[in-house]
């Protein structure tokens, strides 16, 4: 009953196939070239961003420190330069890249999953959960260190994952996860937790500034330990997302058609949500709430690379990393007084107008 290759116009068909395959390969080559360019840009950006700051450091000093850390050279330059380059700047740049990549990837997943161009990593209340976790710890005055880390990131992580679990439980309807109920449940959980945060702020005025500062999002004072903290979440989330990239494409057709095409919709949705939430929770835990990266970067990449999620995820991760590296550099140097701005303020100031521009061009092209 299965059909053998039809004999009619075999030659023509082969030519057509060859052409289509060739086009496919050309696409892959373009993608590889873009990746190479982005990788190079990322490498250069890490170097440049590490060099920028109140204390000038050159490429030579950086190379010396790096070689030393890799065990390839003897102790470098002076101790201060080493601390500035390795302990302060490079760790911060790497962390901002990792957070940027995580937020952008999570944004792609949430937008694809919820079929909502306005979805971002914080749509389903993950950030409010994290903020609540932090607020609670600040109010309770939990101090000290856990595994060398202040307890705030842990509180944020637990809060974020708790909020996500609450949203999932709320949005499950007879064993199915509907995207409409997901957004609604996200709003409900988010609003409720915001109210609790306000309650904490008003009950305990001393904690106010700590909470507000944390919510604004910043990389100030973060180091390698935070990179280590985020890395497993970022890796797990990114792998989950990439693994299900093809399903993410199909889910864009809607629940029913995904089912018709053989996608186990609920399972895949759950895994993707989990992946995106891990990415967001990890990022929020180490840096606070940094908005707009997860909203704008996926849009920009979709505009440039088309909607196919396999490619989009990778490109967005790179672009998100680049964006946040430079946003953080701006946050460090923009004020003449030498004071730092919270990087969340920079991304919002840049992201808002840029998003407006994207929206207008997309409207002009009739894309939404």
């Amino acid at each position: 009953m299965k059909v053998a290759s039809p004999p009619a116009s075999q030659v023509d068909r082969t030519a057509e196939l060859t052409e289509a395959l060739e086009r496919r390969r050309a696409e892959m080559r373009r993608f590889a070239a873009a990746l190479l360019a982005l990788g190079l840009a990322l490498f250069l950006s890490v170097g440049l961003a590490t060099g920028i700051g109140r204390m000038e450091v050159g490429w030579n000093a950086m190379a010396a420190v790096l070689l030393n850390k890799l065990g390839l050279a003897a102790a470098p330059v002076d101790r201060t330069t080493e601390v500035v380059i390795w302990g302060i700047r490079l760790s911060r740049v790497v962390l901002s890249a990792l957070v940027g990549a995580s937020l952008a990837t999570a944004g792609v997943v949430f937008q694809g999953l919820l079929l909502n161009p306005l979805a971002d990593p914080f749509t389903i209340g993950v950030s409010t959960g994290a903020a609540f976790g932090v607020a609670l710890l600040v109010m309770l005055g939990v101090g000290g260190a856990f595994l060398g880390l202040s307890p705030l990131p842990l509180g944020a992580l637990v809060g974020a994952l708790g909020a996500m679990a609450a949203v999932l439980v709320l949005s499950r309807d007879a064993g199915r996860i509907r995207k409409e109920s997901l957004i609604l449940a996200g709003i409900v959980v988010s609003t409720f937790l915001s109210a609790l945060i306000s309650l904490i702020k008003s009950l305990d005025e001393e904690s106010l500034s700590a909470i507000v500062f944390w919510i604004m999002g910043s990389f100030s004072g973060r180091g390698w330990i935070h990179v280590g903290f985020l890395l497993p979440y970022a890796a797990a989330g990114f792998l989950l997302a990439i693994y299900h990239g093809r399903e993410l494409d199909i889910l864009a057709l809607g629940e029913e058609q995904s089912h018709f095409l053989g996608v186990s919709v609920n399972q895949v949705r759950l895994k993707l949500l989990l992946g995106a939430s891990l990415l967001t929770a990890g990022a929020v835990a180490v840096s606070g709430v940094i908005g707009f990266v997860g909203l704008v970067v996926p849009h920009l990449c979709r505009l440039l690379a088309g909607p196919s999620h396999g490619r989009l995820l990778v490109l967005s991760a790179f672009t998100g990393a680049l964006t946040l590296i430079w946003a953080d550099v701006l946050a460090r140097v923009i004020l003449a007084s030498g004071q730092e701005l919270p990087v969340g303020v920079v991304t919002a100031l840049l992201g808002g107008p840029f998003f407006f521009y994207l929206l207008k061009t997309r409207q002009a092209r009739g894309m939404w």
Binding site: E16, L17, L21, Y243, D249, G254, F260, L261, G262, P307
Partner: protein, 276 residues
């Protein structure tokens, strides 16, 4: 038998929509599912596509209980074309058709020449090749339906279900799509089941008709035998004339106005619905 339903009961929540369904569909049949609005045509198709688990009775596809077939395997045998398909993201039509290869592709495996060949072939069969690089968000409804049919064909299915897939299309587009279905049905014995409203389209292409009303199948048989004024009147509560086309040898129904001598007395008796 590619489909077997025995004492099948279907419904949503507490509501029983269809009960006591017993029917078989053999490979290569072309079946039209007809009935008034809300009679359960779509419910039946939802069940056949595995979207709606049966509440009672049994439903098998290729002699296997449908619910027990893993999604990917099911999608290798059975493809569905819904009434309309809105896509939010601007995938090219070729990308949409390639999604039909999903159940056949290995996870993380790259696209093979065979997948691409299937997609191109399906697009050729549905004459959607010129749309290959167009974003699916920018094509017309009729074009989109053909692309979705191409995607269904790329699944290389043995059974194709259509849920009023041509209802929104003009007469030319409808005929084009049914010509494609007829060709696939005859040339590669694809089993076709379509829920539809257009009686004459059904009479023209379907070789078997299944009439659903009041939660059950009230008639099921070869088109020539069941496409009669009596049965149509019973199903739709509407008097119709059935004539026989002298050249094409297919029956067709002629609609008659409801008011004079209509078979639905409660309609005509109601004051206010009389037309000017």
């Amino acid at each position: 038998m590619v489909i077997r339903a025995a004492a099948l009961e279907l419904g949503y929540g507490d509501r029983l929509v269809l009960a006591g369904l017993d029917f078989h569909v053999a490979a290569g049949e072309f079946v039209g599912i007809l009935g008034p609005n809300g009679c359960g045509k779509s419910t039946l198709l939802h069940a056949l596509s595995g979207l709606l688990p049966p509440r009672g009775g049994s439903l098998t596809v290729m002699e296997q209980a449908l619910g027990a077939i893993p999604s990917r395997l099911r999608a290798q045998t059975l493809a569905v074309v819904p009434q309309s398909s809105e896509v939010r993201f601007p995938f090219s039509c070729l990308e949409i058709v390639l999604m039909g290869r999903y159940p056949h592709r290995r996870r993380l495996g790259s696209l093979t020449a065979e997948d691409l060949l299937w997609a191109l072939r399906s697009m050729r069969r549905t004459t959607t090749e010129p749309l290959r690089d167009r974003p699916v968000t920018q094509i017309s409804g009729g074009e989109c339906q053909r692309v979705v049919i191409a995607r269904a064909l790329a699944q290389d299915p043995r059974i194709l279900l259509l849920d009023e897939a041509t209802s929104c299309l003009d007469v030319r587009k409808k005929l084009e799509i049914f010509e494609i279905l007829k060709h696939l049905n005859q040339a590669r014995s694809l089993t076709v089941l379509c829920a539809m409203h257009d009686l004459n389209l059904a009479a023209l292409y379907c070789r078997r008709l299944m009439f659903i009303k009041d939660g059950r199948i009230i008639r099921d048989g070869p088109t020539e035998a069941v496409f009669t004024p009596e049965i149509l009147a019973a199903v739709y509560d509407t008097a119709m004339e059935v004539r026989w086309h002298p050249v094409y040898h297919r029956p067709y129904a002629v609609m008659l106005p409801l008011t004079p001598g209509a078979a639905a007395p409660e309609e005509t008796a109601t004051p206010g619905v009389a037309r000017a």
